[in-house]
Amino acid sequence: MSAATKQAKTLARQLFNLSLVDGAVSAERVQGVLAYVEKSSPPNALLVLRLYHHLVSVELARRIALVEHAGSIEPTVLKAIAAAMTQHYGRAITSTAKPNPSLIAGLRVRVGDDVYESSAASRLQALSSAC
């Protein structure tokens, strides 16, 4: 890793830490960070912003339960999933629905890197790989 990349990584991490309020990304702070980068234009600004974007998106993904569903989904189910995930991870998690017909039936919930599979497609795949 070159010294410039290392420096950009450190700065992106510092900016990311400044964007957090009580461990969560604050929209206001992010705006502040973007304004600072535009004004001061640090070396390798593009790389810094890309790395910063990556860190923020990873953090946001940790706080959203992306619920992929094949059929229709009740708002109460979404609420129940959000509540269960909030309790499980110990941090506030909101849920978002995303239709995905390739699942055939059932749900797939994604919170950050963790994926909870309860779909017909995943079972069929497990069956085919076991054969």
Binding site: M1, H54, L55, V58, G106, L107, V109, G112, D113, D114, V115, Y116, E117, S118, S122, S129
Partner: protein, 508 residues
């Protein structure tokens, strides 16, 4: 009744909606068999990672925002953005007797076309070596069948003995002979019905070798009937470096199964120089800091943790390791040779000069040593070979001096003459291990001057004839020597009679 059914149906419904949790990541970059991954926040060090298409990876670098992973298997179908997932399992290989007689790859999958292996047990590839309390000192011999080694550099069960030398000096041959000798001893021991007999199973790990060489080794073992007691772990030169890096650890796991289950095993790592090179390649691609000769900082630990797994366990079995190191121009002081020399319990150094002079096995007596020493020898060998190493070392020194053509006194001439005969006596064709009772017998004959009046050039033939005479005509005597493992007055008298009889009928 309907309530009962409802209850069952509810239970089924609960089970059928059970979700499976997995930790995922995506491929950020992939090159030279190494992938950089995003995500995988739960991944453990050395954990197996599942790639699309069935390929398996091992997480080797856990960094702040990425995971470095070596991929085992076909990487041609993988691309940036593909999803990967953790498995929660450390890399394991099948172990057990079902693997005997088979050739497998670094993951324990058969590569010999003899069908699937029915193995019920799996051992992790990486395992912490046995600690101090469970170990026992090495005191039981492991006969190589090579007279020069068994008499001067004895190897014990649970020992780590390095075989080191330039290319083409007979390093692999020594290990193949040893494996063949174990098979021969196993057959005799198991046929005898002795309840205390402990067979030795062998594992041959080929790292970075040509496929043709591996086939040659397999053929030699099969021809000698040794393959049924042997597992071959093959990571040839064409395999990716990750497989070459893992193969010795997989072999060690297979050997540990025998050790843990009260059996004795022998493992050959052929060779650790290529293993270090494969690891250097992986480390450089993973962008780990490089040190001397571009090897990573943990190259010592790479071999020490592997060789420490060879041990003799109290109340269980043993695992003997014969690692091989290839030197360049006989340089023992290079980085990897010095590392492995310091880890092992001795080394057998093979010299190119001796090899070219026709002295085969080309064991350099001065530079070879076994730190276990005579505690791993039977009494009969100690009786006949106790002074051999000293005599031979003296001979080499005097022989170098005698080259100047100086006048020599009678004592020196006698020493040179005797040394020359010992050297000739130790010459042994490849794939022809000699039983320990036969070794003890002809070394006894040498000590008792039966070869003194035979021309030095004819010693090899004479020794072969004596061995043939003893094997064909005096088998009961050899059996007695093997059973007693010592030469008492009665056996010495019988040996004398036998040697006199041979000498009387010997025509040079």
């Amino acid at each position: 009744m309907s309530t009962v059914l409802e209850q069952i149906e509810q239970q089924i419904a609960k089970l059928s909606t059970k979700s499976v949790k997995k930790n995922t990541g995506t491929i950020r970059a992939i090159a030279d068999g190494v992938a950089k991954l995003d995500g995988l926040s739960d991944v453990m060090y050395n954990e197996m990672v599942q790639f699309p298409g069935g390929a398996i990876g091992i997480a080797l670098n856990l960094e702040e925002d990425e995971v470095g992973c070596v991929i085992l298997g076909d990487i041609s179908g993988l691309k940036e953005g593909d999803e990967v997932q953790t498995t929660g399992r450390l890399l394991s290989v099948p172990v057990g007797k079902a693997l005997l007689g088979r050739a497998v790859d670094a993951l324990g999958q058969p590569v010999d076309g003899k069908g699937p292996i029915d193995s019920k047990e799996f051992y992790p590839v990486e395992k912490i070596a046995p600690g101090i309390i469970v170990r026992k000192s090495v005191s039981q011999p492991l006969f190589t069948g090579i007279t020069a080694i068994d008499s001067m550099i004895p190897i014990g069960r649970g020992q780590r003995e390095l075989i080191i030398g330039d290319r083409g000096t007979g390093k692999t041959t020594i290990t193949i002979d040893t494996i063949i000798n174990q098979a021969r001893i196993n057959r005799t021991g198991l046929a005898s019905g002795d309840k205390n007999f402990r067979p030795v199973y062998s594992i041959y790990v080929a790292i970075g070798q040509k496929n043709s060489n591996i086939v040659r080794t397999m053929t030699a073992l099969e021809a000698a009937g040794a393959l049924e007691y042997t597992i071959i772990v093959a990571a040839p030169a064409a395999d990716n470096p990750a497989n070459q890096y893992l193969a010795p650890y997989s072999g060690a796991a297979m050997g540990e199964w025998f050790m843990e289950n009260g059996m004795d095993a022998l493992i050959v790592y052929d060779d650790l120089s290529k293993h270090a090179v494969a690891y250097r390649q992986i480390s450089l691609i993973l962008k780990r800091p490089s040190g001397r000769e571009a090897f990573p900082g943990d190259v010592f630990y790479l071999h020490s943790r592997l060789l420490e797994r060879a041990a003799r366990l109290d109340g269980k079995g043993s695992l003997t390791a014969l690692p091989i190191i290839e030197t360049l121009a006989g340089d023992l002081s290079a980085y990897i040779p010095t590392n492995v020399i310091s880890i092992t319990d001795g080394q057998i150094f093979l010299e190119t000069d001796l090899f070219n002079q026709g002295i085969r096995p080309a064991v350099s007596v001065g530079l070879s040593v076994s730190r276990v020493g005579s505690s791993a020898q039977i009494k009969a060998t100690k009786q006949v070979a106790g002074k051999l190493k000293g005599e031979l070392a003296q001979y080499r020194e005097l022989a170098a001096f005698a080259q100047f053509g100086a006048d020599l006194d009678a004592k020196t001439k006698a020493q040179l003459d005797r040394g020359g005969r010992i050297v000739e006596l130790f010459k042994q064709p490849q794939l022809n291990p000699i039983s320990i009772e036969l070794q003890a017998s002809f070394l006894w004959a040498m000590q008792k001057n039966y070869f003194d009046d035979i021309d030095v050039k004819k010693i090899v033939v004479a020794a072969a004839k004596l061995r043939e005479f003893l094997t064909t005509r005096k088998q009961p005597l050899l059996d007695k020597i093997r059973t007693k493992a010592a030469l008492d007055a009665e056996l010495e008298a019988e040996l004398k009679t036998a040697c006199d009889e041979w000498k009387a009928g010997y025509k040079s």
